[in-house]
């Protein structure tokens, strides 16, 4: 038990921030740290080749994916995926000829630290507006940079499903950013 206290005191904040940056939810981040501690004390496979922090972070990465998998499996994916060509989910973006309804604009990317902060706050709000599953998949791919193939393996979905969901997530995010962030 002494280990747990040492680990939490020395690495708890670091692990928590690491988890929060990927799960974007304080409760989930706490769960991930807790699961990491349980696995660490149970496994006790720390050899000293790596630092305790590196070892714990390695465990945490897996625990984060476990939580994401659980989140994605809570509802059937078919709710979100309709691969039919008659798919109407993109009707907000394109007309029947496949032309943009609102053409993407040139983005005026923020320079100053303050603007940068505001931009990221807008992005964060846009992420919250995405259906939870799309946001999770987007985080796994674009933030955690897990290879598409491995995401599909972890989640038990096909690559086509993953593409469709990532496409929708990105389309939703860019549209939300364009509407809420002043463009040049």
């Amino acid at each position: 038990m002494q280990n747990i206290n040492d680990w939490l005191n020395e690495h708890g904040d670091y692990l928590y921030r690491f988890a929060l940056a990927r799960l974007r939810d304080p409760h989930q981040a706490e769960d991930a740290v807790q699961e990491t501690m349980l696995a660490a004390i149970k496994g006790n496979s720390f050899e000293g080749d790596s630092t305790a922090r590196t070892w714990l972070t390695g465990i945490l990465k897996h625990k984060i994916i476990d939580l994401q998998r659980k989140q994605i499996r809570e509802q059937p994916l078919s709710d979100l995926i309709d691969l039919d060509e008659s798919d109407t989910s993109m009707d907000d973006f394109f007309d029947q000829h496949g032309h943009w309804l609102d053409k993407p604009q040139e983005w005026d990317m923020p320079d100053s630290a303050l603007e940068q902060k505001q931009f990221l706050a807008t992005l964060s709000k846009c992420m919250d507006k995405l259906p939870a599953k799309l946001a999770t998949l987007f985080m796994m791919r674009d933030v955690q940079e897990i290879e598409n193939e491995n995401i599909c393996k972890e989640l038990g979905i096909t690559t086509t499903n993953a593409w469709v969901m990532l496409y929708r997530a990105r389309m939703g995010l860019r549209k939300c950013l364009e509407m809420n962030w002043i463009t040049g």
């Binding site: 038990m1 747990i4 206290n5 939490l8 708890g12 904040d13 692990l15 928590y16 921030r17 690491f18 929060l20 940056a21 990927r22 304080p26 706490e30 740290v33 807790q34 501690m37 349980l38 004390i41 149970k42 993109m90 973006f93 394109f94 000829h97 496949g98 032309h99 943009w100 053409k103 993407p104 604009q105 040139e106 983005w107 990317m109 940068q116 931009f119 990221l120 992005l123 964060s124 987007f138 791919r141 674009d142 933030v143 598409n148 690559t159 993953a162 593409w163 990532l166 496409y167 990105r170 389309m171 995010l173 860019r174 950013l177 364009e178």
Partner: protein
């Protein structure tokens, strides 16, 4: 004018642009997309935006990771310690 198969619509092009971030495109996909981007400003901006989006979410991740004002709350720490203790005692 009848659309010929070689020409992508913006809807098709946007799908390929997104896909190219996850997987290498086929040769024919690459050629069609390159041609479309050559003639289409809107999709060229879309392509750029997806890059900007990626850069931004990376920055967001780093900001959280490096934000020393974010700490594991002490009540969370206590909960974790208790949970672990109750399972391994």
């Amino acid at each position: 004018m009848k659309a010929i198969k070689f020409m992508l619509t913006c809807k098709q092009a946007s799908k390929l642009i997104s896909q190219s971030l996850d997987h290498p495109l086929s040769l024919s996909g690459r050629v069609k997309l390159r041609f479309h981007l050559f003639i289409c400003d809107a999709c060229t901006r879309f392509n750029k935006q997806l890059g900007q989006l990626r850069t931004a979410v990376h920055r967001m991740r780093q900001d959280t990771e490096n934000d020393s004002s974010i700490e594991l709350p002490s009540d969370a720490k206590a909960r974790i310690t208790n949970t672990v203790a109750s399972k391994y005692h």
